[in-house]
């Protein structure tokens, strides 16, 4: 193997040398020549030639310096040194410096040409080796890119990943895994899993490896694991066995997913369901006991008590219907798919009509009302929903007011808001009661509220509605003095 079209550089001022080489090699190869050492270094370094012929005696600098400079740039350059006064010393010296050969001038073609062929052959091997090396490097580079791409992906995954081998040693994990098992300790590859993993995960891994051994096939276990009880960090651990090509079990891989939020949601849902069940059952228990008393003839001829019992049963039944309606409203608000018919609602007119509606109830308890409403203020809302908000406010102001109490209702513009306040002279709230006011099913329990029925959902619904319109509710209250509920809703121009 040898190179065709080799690029050859001759650094020599001697025209005989140049002519000789051009004559013998010129038709197969590309030959350039340079007469001085400095220029030779410049040309010979800027690009790599396949072969260099360097004269030991140049007009400016020594051939050794040229050899040194060129080999400095091109480590594998094949340089043939030429001298008209050859000496053993300089031959040894230049060979030690990496020269390929040292020949004397004038040339003997029979000796020189085979040597040049060998040099070109060598050059071919050098290039071929270089090509292979490059190819291998490219492959490795690709492999590394693949590997690091995979590593990047695995490290970025929001699930924790753990791989253990048959000996239950940890052989791989990603950063998320450390977070999920809540350890600050650095795990070393090859460490025993028993030193680090939560017990429940250890148990799962042992179980699956044992099963793999006895059954000899892939299996998987999915299980919830509480890392920080009671429910602060819960993960779903999904573990599967890894089998090699020969069917032997190599270990197991666990994927941990944080399901804390889901669990908490689940728990609050089931708490809500329990509360609903209780709230539905409690009035039924009351009605049940009233009816039992009546049907068991336990009242004798006490007509007054008899009537009271029936009246209370009816009231509790009505409250139950109201509760069921409120529950529907809560579910409707929570299920997001609420259809709203948005329209411009003039707030003052709506409030006036509601006060008119509640007049009989107010008169029943001799409650006076004062309205200070600015007309011409609009909000963009579903009139049904907004009616529910104000109905709730006014009905609470009546229900929780004192006999012969008073209600002040105002409606004003406040910046970009329509501000509606309903102030009563009722029973007010303690600060603990105020804090829990918008909680579902919360009802203040004290001597004043004992006989007032309510679903415990009114304010929760009201808050959900006001939140939907990006508004807010504030409450000022003093126990036994009264409360002021203020609702802010975004104002729109007519």
């Amino acid at each position: 193997m040898k190179i065709l079209d080799a690029r050859i550089l001759i650094i020599d001022a001697d025209p005989e040398v140049v002519n000789f080489l051009k004559h013998h090699l010129g038709n197969q190869h590309v030959i350039e020549s340079i007469p001085t050492g400095i220029e030779g270094i410049a040309k010979g370094s800027s690009s790599e030639y396949d072969l260099y012929f360097i004269s030991m005696s140049l007009p400016d600098i020594s051939g050794r310096d040229v050899l040194h400079a060129i080999r400095d740039v091109h480590e594998e350059a094949i340089c043939i040194m030429m001298s008209s006064n050859p000496s053993i010393d300089s031959a040894v010296q230049t060979t030690q410096m990496g020269a390929y050969n040292y020949i004397s001038k004038p040339f003997d073609a029979e000796k020189i040409l085979p040597m040049i062929h060998r040099a070109l052959e060598r050059r071919w091997y050098i290039l071929e080796a270089r090509r292979l090396r490059q190819e291998r490097e490219n492959n490795l580079a690709e492999l590394n890119v693949d590997k690091s791409r995979l590593a990047t992906v695995i490290n970025a995954i929001d699930d924790g990943i753990l791989v253990i081998n048959q000996k239950k040693e940890i052989i791989f994990y990603n950063p998320r895994f450390l977070q999920l098992i809540h350890t600050d300790r650095q795990i070393l590859i090859g460490d025993s899993m028993f030193r680090y993993l939560p017990q429940s995960l250890q148990k799962q891994l042992c179980e699956i490896l044992q099963k793999a051994e006895s059954e000899g096939k892939t299996n998987a276990i999915k299980q919830e694991i509480v890392i920080k009880p009671p429910l602060e960090l819960v993960v779903m651990a999904n573990t599967a066995t890894i089998f090699g090509e020969n069917g032997q079990c190599l270990g197991a891989v666990s994927v941990l997913r944080d399901i804390t939020e889901m669990k908490q949601l689940d728990q609050s849902k089931s708490h809500f369901v329990n509360m609903v069940a209780h709230e539905l059952k409690a009035p039924l228990a009351a009605i049940h006991s009233y009816l039992k008393m009546i049907l068991d003839n336990a009242l004798g001829d006490d007509i007054v008590t008899y009537n009271t019992y029936l009246k209370r049963s009816l009231e509790r039944t009505e409250a139950l219907i109201e509760l069921i309606n409120d529950l529907f409203n809560i579910f409707r608000m929570d299920s997001k798919g609420v259809k709203r018919n948005l329209e411009k609602v003039e707030v003052a007119t709506l409030l006036e009509s509601l006060v008119e509606f509640f007049k009989p109830k107010m008169e029943e308890r001799e409650i006076t009302v004062n309205l200070a409403l600015k007309h011409g203020l609009y909000i963009n809302a579903d009139s049904e929903e907004i009616r529910r908000v104000f109905t709730n406010l006014i009905s609470n102001a009546i229900k929780y007011n004192k006999y012969e109490g008073h209600i002040d209702i105002t409606c004003v513009a406040d910046g970009r808001w329509v501000k509606v306040s309903v102030k009563d002279t009722g029973i007010g709230m303690t600060s603990e009661e105020k804090d829990r006011l918008f909680q579902e099913f919360f009802r203040a329990k004290n001597i004043y509220t004992r006989n007032i029925t309510g679903t415990g959902l009114g304010l929760a619904i009201m808050k959900k509605i006001v939140d939907e319109y990006a508004g807010r509710i504030t409450v000022e209250t003093e126990f036994e003095k009264g409360s002021t509920f203020t609702v802010y809703l975004p104002r729109v121009e007519n």
Binding site: A277, H278, L284, A286, H288, M293, D296, T308, Y309, K445
Partner: protein, 128 residues
């Protein structure tokens, strides 16, 4: 001497039924509408039997109350019964089958609402 019964329940209607009914049967009955009133009456009235509602101010008010009762010296002379609509199908899973379970809820027994006044009377006569 007639038995003293303390009813602790935030449902005004239940008390409206049971209190006069039990009084008519010859018991001495006092009623509390929340845990705080219940505690005060327990100390002053010194009942023989306590019926305590479970869900009052909080979902577990009755348990908290029973825990408090358990630390009162008067407790050893009284029988405490949790009386609730939140029974086995809904909400809490508890029972008084074993002494350990009884210890856990600090109550001697529990009754699930609704219970008719006559059945309640029967229960008091037989078990209290």
């Amino acid at each position: 001497m007639s038995k003293k019964i303390l009813l602790i329940d935030d449902d005004v209607d239940l008390i409206a039924v049971y209190k006069p009914f039990l009084e008519k049967q010859g018991f001495e009955v006092q009623a509390a509408y929340n845990s705080e009133e219940g505690k005060q009456l327990f100390k002053s009235f010194k009942p023989d039997v306590v019926f305590a509602d479970l869900v009052m101010e909080h979902f577990d008010s009755g348990f908290v109350l029973c825990h408090w009762l358990d630390h009162q010296p008067e407790r050893k002379n009284a029988r405490v019964i949790i009386f609730t609509s939140t029974g086995h199908e809904t909400g809490y899973r508890f029972s008084t089958q074993t002494s350990e379970e009884k210890k856990w809820i600090n109550a001697d027994d529990y009754l699930e609402k609704p219970i008719s006044p006559n059945d309640l009377l029967q229960y008091i006569k037989e078990r209290c």
